[in-house]
């Protein structure tokens, strides 16, 4: 019995990437895929969001931004690393300024690889994330009691 999975609101942040995954994420939010069917809303506000979709790698510039957005989200929350750069740093991993995947900055729950990541993969990843969200919500409710 989880309401979190029925209403996963997300926020999307694009780190240092080639913008390919970024475009794919936006694509999957178009009416064609109709994510609102699952109750998904792109909120653009960390305080309202349950799922944090990150595309692109983490570097020294955006490390704090990613952390800050994550901190401002309320529990329960789930992080989805979209695309290979977000997972591991991808082709940029050896660049002088890149630190690596998103997990260098914040705990990642679901990795969705791909270059660029396909909308189908994103949707799969989000559905996986939703399950984790429910688990976390149940745990939070358990803690409250």
């Amino acid at each position: 019995m989880g309401y979190s999975s029925k209403s996963p609101w997300l926020i999307h942040y694009d780190g240092s990437s080639c913008n390919g995954c970024d475009i794919e994420v936006l694509d999957s939010l178009t009416p064609l895929y109709d994510l609102e069917r699952f109750g998904i809303i792109n909120t653009g506000n960390p305080k309202h969001a349950d799922i944090f979709l990150v595309t692109g790698a983490v570097n020294h510039q955006n490390m704090n931004v990613v952390k800050h957005i994550y901190d401002q989200m309320m529990e329960p929350k789930v992080v989805v690393a979209c695309g290979i750069c977000a997972c591991t740093g991808g082709v940029f991993r050896d660049a002088y300024n890149v630190i690596g995947g998103v997990d260098k900055a914040i705990p990642v729950d679901v990795y969705a690889p791909g270059c660029a990541v396909r909308p189908e993969t994103i949707i799969d990843a989000v559905l996986k994330a939703v399950e984790i969200l429910d688990e976390k919500a149940a745990k939070l409710a358990g803690n409250k009691r």
Binding site: S7, T43, G44, K47, N64, D71
Partner: protein, 958 residues
């Protein structure tokens, strides 16, 4: 009689004593003690003469001596002004002073003629008692306040003078002595029936305020003082000429007598004198075109402003108009003049208050605007209007004096009276700010007295069919909401790490502010008692009718709401101190949330700054002032011209109006409570389903499947289960208030109770959402809240026009009256219905008017007004939105209800069509600029209001 004598004489003695004992140690006990004595004496006087209007017969010699003394005072003061005019070398002042001196001599020579000595020169009734209490309690509290304030003031002056290498003389004894002299003058005005005596008090207040405004002796103060005396001399002159004219036709100079004469065959002699007396009252009440003295008076130390503009000086003006009120029923020219001047002043000064950032100037404009409203009420001359006017006087006095005193103290604490600098005051001066917020609420929102009185004003103007004024009132009220709400927002911002600078506030200042706040809450809670026990008997006697606007049950509910709001603001109730604190959202990273600093591009630290909206391009102060002066000046000239053109039969023919007594058909308290419970249970369910349907239908319009029907329910359940965190401890409490008010509003509507109160409560709910958003001090939430204020300002006129239309069609403000109609009100109110449809889009926050918040994907404001609300708070906002949707749709449905069960079906169909139309508009239009929203909404309200109300209210006369 002894009490009255004491009230006049005692402050004089105190003034003399204060001139003698000049040290702080002697002054403090004298002032505190005598203020207490004056307060007590005014209460004793009130108890003694309550509901026992009395004329006091005095021995002939005493009365004669009184006349001579008043004439002497009058001449002395004229001489004093003349001396000042010579000293300041001001030509206009000199000319006016000379003319007035001549008039005074003429007047005095007739005043001491034996046949004009009155046997009963003093008179007291409930109106005088109210004024005595205002002057005695609020006025003397301000005197106490002045002690602490002037210490800081003098300290500041000395520091400034030292910088220039000069010495600042300590003239505080003069200042405080003047204040007591002023009180004495006020007492003379309110208890004199003999106008020769009254004019002496009138001149005392004028000259005292001249001296108090000029107290600092700076060039600016001198300029303001000269402006004040010049404009008030015009009024004084009008007063004197009126007295001379009355003397010449040998009518006794009793105010009460004037009314009797006006209603007799000799009325034609009074046409010009009444016009002149009205002008005297309007000048003193700072109405356009004479309003500029009040703005200039703001340079004076704050106790002056508080005394002059909240409790005494300006109230003397409206007191005179109020006394003349029954006469306005006889003299249409004077009545139209006073109503139009008051109405135009109200709306234009409300507009100009929006453009001001100086707190004292905002207060000044708001004072002028409210006095305009009171004057207009007096000018109508019927009992309902007088009821409204008297309550406006009471509530304006208490609310405004709290605000003046708070602004004065705040200025000494933070060194500024600019509203922009009051950011985060909620944490820096916690107690003072809460009092200030209470004062503002008292000025603007239901259920505090101000709005109840505005409501009564609405009724009385609907009765007389004064469409022009109704429209002015609707727009002025909307502007009023805007400037108060944005100030309230500045105050409400909670800074996390602010330093509390409240320690230096003097005890005397705390006492005065606290005392007046208690008075204000007392007046609000005790409104039914004051109305039934004090004001009604007065109206019964003077106007011979006793208006009933709203049932006692409604008043009770309001009293409960006042108590509730006081609890929210003044106690720690609802403070979620256990919640996790989070920083405000600033897009990127936030380095210091309190000062709103964030890491910007190129590694720079940026600061986000947000200022209030002033709309100087929409309401340019200079142009608006010019318009006001020209229009009001023209109205006054036309009134005089009319007095010479038309024959006396017309001029004393009386105003024509149709008695429209509101029918009270609403439910009793149990019915109301039942309605509230039903609404609280049903509306969220219905609203949730409607919201789900909305999203489903929208999705289909966009070629999608869309979410499940119960999606909004799932969203809210999820939000309720989220972690509890917030940027401050108060926002959830405000949102809880908002949802409660919204449910109350809905409950009142479905139980068939008062529609106007329902509208006001919805506005109150919105105001609390706005305060909650402002409290975060986040740039996104602030901008969202600003735009929400703007939206309220845009749709408020239309809502007021809708309720007036409803009243005109059903003869009642109670929704239950619909069930007794032969035909639905839509038949008469098609234009108003269309106007309602227009603003419904704004109210439901649908595109193209979703400025403050949008349920669509990204907008430039992130999530606008809800940006900083999370978890449970956001869930409450959603639930409130459901309730609002249901309520607003019911408003459209009520147009189709009549005395027939089928009408329910018709109404449901109509509501369904309206709802579908709204969804369609939402999906097929892009967001416009706010300028378009404001202008189009006002244009629609104006056109629709004029057309439909004219049809409804004026056709019965034809």
């Amino acid at each position: 009689m002894a009490t009255l004598g004491f009230l006049v004489a005692f402050p004089l003695l105190v003034a003399v004593a204060l001139m003698v004992f000049r040290t702080d140690s002697a002054r403090d006990p004298i002032v505190i003690g005598s203020a207490a004595v004056i307060g007590a004496a005014s209460v004793v006087c009130a108890v003694q003469f309550m509901n026992a209007p009395t004329s006091f017969a005095v021995p002939y010699d005493f009365s004669f001596a009184g006349n001579i003394l008043s004439a002497a005072i009058d001449l002395f003061l004229c001489g004093l002004v003349l001396a000042f005019a010579l000293r300041y070398r001001n030509f206009a002042m000199l000319v006016l002073a000379i003319v007035q001196f001549i008039a005074s001599i003429w007047c005095a020579s007739m005043a001491i003629a034996p046949e004009d000595i009155m046997a009963e020169p003093l008179y007291i009734d409930n109106l005088s008692i109210i004024m005595i209490l205002i002057v005695g309690l609020v006025g003397s509290a301000i005197c106490i306040y002045a002690l602490g304030y002037m210490k800081d003031f003098q300290h500041h002056e000395e520091a400034e003078a030292e910088k220039r290498g000069e010495h600042a003389p300590d003239r505080r004894h003069q200042f405080i002595a003047l204040m007591f002299l002023f009180l004495s003058g006020m007492f003379i005005i309110v208890i004199s029936d003999n106008m020769d005596w009254l004019v002496a008090g009138w001149e005392i207040t004028t000259v005292c305020s001249f001296l108090m405004i000029g107290y600092t002796r700076t060039p600016e103060a001198r300029k303001s003082a000269i402006l004040q005396i010049n404009l008030n001399m015009v009024g004084g002159l009008a007063f004197h000429i009126a007295l001379i004219l009355i003397h010449l036709v040998h009518i006794p100079l009793s105010i009460g007598g004037l009314i009797e004469v006006a209603q007799s065959g000799e009325a034609e002699y009074l046409i010009i004198p009444i016009l002149l007396l009205s002008i005297a009252g309007l000048t003193k009440a700072a109405q356009m075109p004479f309003h500029r003295w009040l703005l200039g008076a703001m340079v004076a130390p704050t106790p002056t402003s508080a005394l002059l503009h909240s409790s005494t000086m300006v109230k003397a003006g409206v007191f005179l108009l109020m006394k003349l009120a029954p006469a306005y029923l006889v003299f249409p020219a004077a009545s139209v003049m006073v109503v139009m001047v008051g109405g135009v002043t109200f709306v234009l000064c409300s507009f100009m208050a929006i453009t001001q950032s100086n707190a004292k100037r905002v207060l000044a404009y708001s004072t002028i605007a409210n006095l305009g409203l009171i004057s207009a009420c007096a000018g109508v001359g019927i009992a309902e209007a007088a009821w409204a006017g008297i309550f406006l006087i009471i509530f304006h006095t208490v609310s405004k004096s709290i605000l003046f005193l708070c602004v004065g103290t705040v200025e000494h604490r933070i060194g500024s009276r600019n509203i922009e600098d009051m950011d985060g005051l909620f944490s820096r001066l916690p107690r003072l700010t809460r009092f200030m917020m209470l004062g503002i609420l008292g000025m603007v929102v239901a259920p505090f007295g101000m709005l109840i009185s505005k409501w009564a004003t609405l009724v009385s103007f609907a009765e007389t069919g004064n469409v022009v004024f109704l429209i002015l009132l609707a727009f002025g009220s909307a502007a009023t909401f805007f400037y108060w709400a944005k100030w309230l927002g500045k105050l409400a911002g909670v800074a996390q790490k602010a330093e509390n600078v409240e320690a230096g506030v003097h005890k005397t200042e705390w006492f005065a502010i606290g005392f007046i706040a208690v008075l204000m809450l007392g007046c609000c809670v005790g409104l039914p008692v004051i109305s039934l026990g004090v004001v009604s008997p007065y109206l019964e006697r003077v106007f011979g009718s006793n208006p009933q606007f709203l049932g006692v049950d409604n008043m009770l509910i309001m009293a409960v709401i006042v108590a509730f709001i006081a609890i929210v603001f003044l106690t720690p109730w609802g403070r979620a101190s256990k919640k996790r604190r989070v920083e405000v959202y600033l897009g990127g990273t936030c380095t210091d949330p309190d000062s709103r600093r964030f890491h910007g591009a190129m590694g720079r630290t940026m600061t986000s700054v947000k200022r209030n909206w002033y709309m100087t391009d929409i309401f340019p102060e200079k142009t608006v002032t010019a318009v006001g002066i020209i229009v009001c000046g023209a109205v006054i000239l036309m009134a005089f011209a009319a007095s010479f053109i038309f024959n006396p039969d017309v001029l004393t023919g009386g105003a024509f109006y149709i008695e429209r007594i509101p029918r009270l058909v609403g439910p009793e308290l149990p019915g109301l409570l039942l309605g509230i419970v039903v609404f609280a249970v049903v509306a969220p369910v219905l609203g949730c389903l409607l919201d789900g349907l909305d999203r489903k239908v929208s999705a289909h319009m966009q070629g999608r499947v869309g979410p499940r029907l119960l999606q909004p329910y799932y969203d809210v359940r999820k939000l309720l289960a989220k972690e509890q965190a917030s940027v401050n401890a108060v926002d959830e409490a405000y949102i809880t208030c908002a949802i409660i008010f919204c449910i109350l509003a809905g409950g009142m509507f479905i139980s068939g109770s008062n529609l106007l109160m329902c509208v006001f409560l919805v506005t109150l709910a919105t105001l609390f959402v706005i305060i909650a958003a402002y409290s975060a001090r986040s740039p996104f939430a602030d901008t969202g809240a600003d735009r929400e204020c703007l939206q309220v300002m845009s749709y408020e006129p239309m809502l007021l026009i809708m309720t007036v239309g409803f009243f005109a069609a059903t003869q009642s403000f109670d929704v239950a009256s619909l069930l007794g109609l032969d035909a639905p009100i839509i038949i008469q109110l098609v234009p108003i219905f269309l106007g309602l449809l227009f603003i419904l889009t704004i109210k439901l926050r649908k595109s193209p008017f979703d400025y403050s918040y949008s349920h669509h994907a990204h907008q430039e404001l992130v999530k606008g007004i809800t940006t900083e609300m999370e978890g449970r708070t956001l869930a409450k906002v959603e639930i409130m939105h459901w309730c609002e949707t249901v309520l607003f749709l019911m408003w459209t449905g009520m147009f189709f209800i009549w005395d027939n069960p089928i009408s329910i079906v018709v109404a449901l169909v109509a509501v369904a069509v309206v709802w579908f139309l709204e969804v369609f508009i939402d999906n097929n239009s892009a967001r416009t600029k706010w300028q378009f929203g404001l202008k189009s909404a006002w244009l629609v309200a104006l056109v629709v209001g004029v057309v439909n109300l004219f049809y409804m209210l004026v056709t019965p006369f034809i």
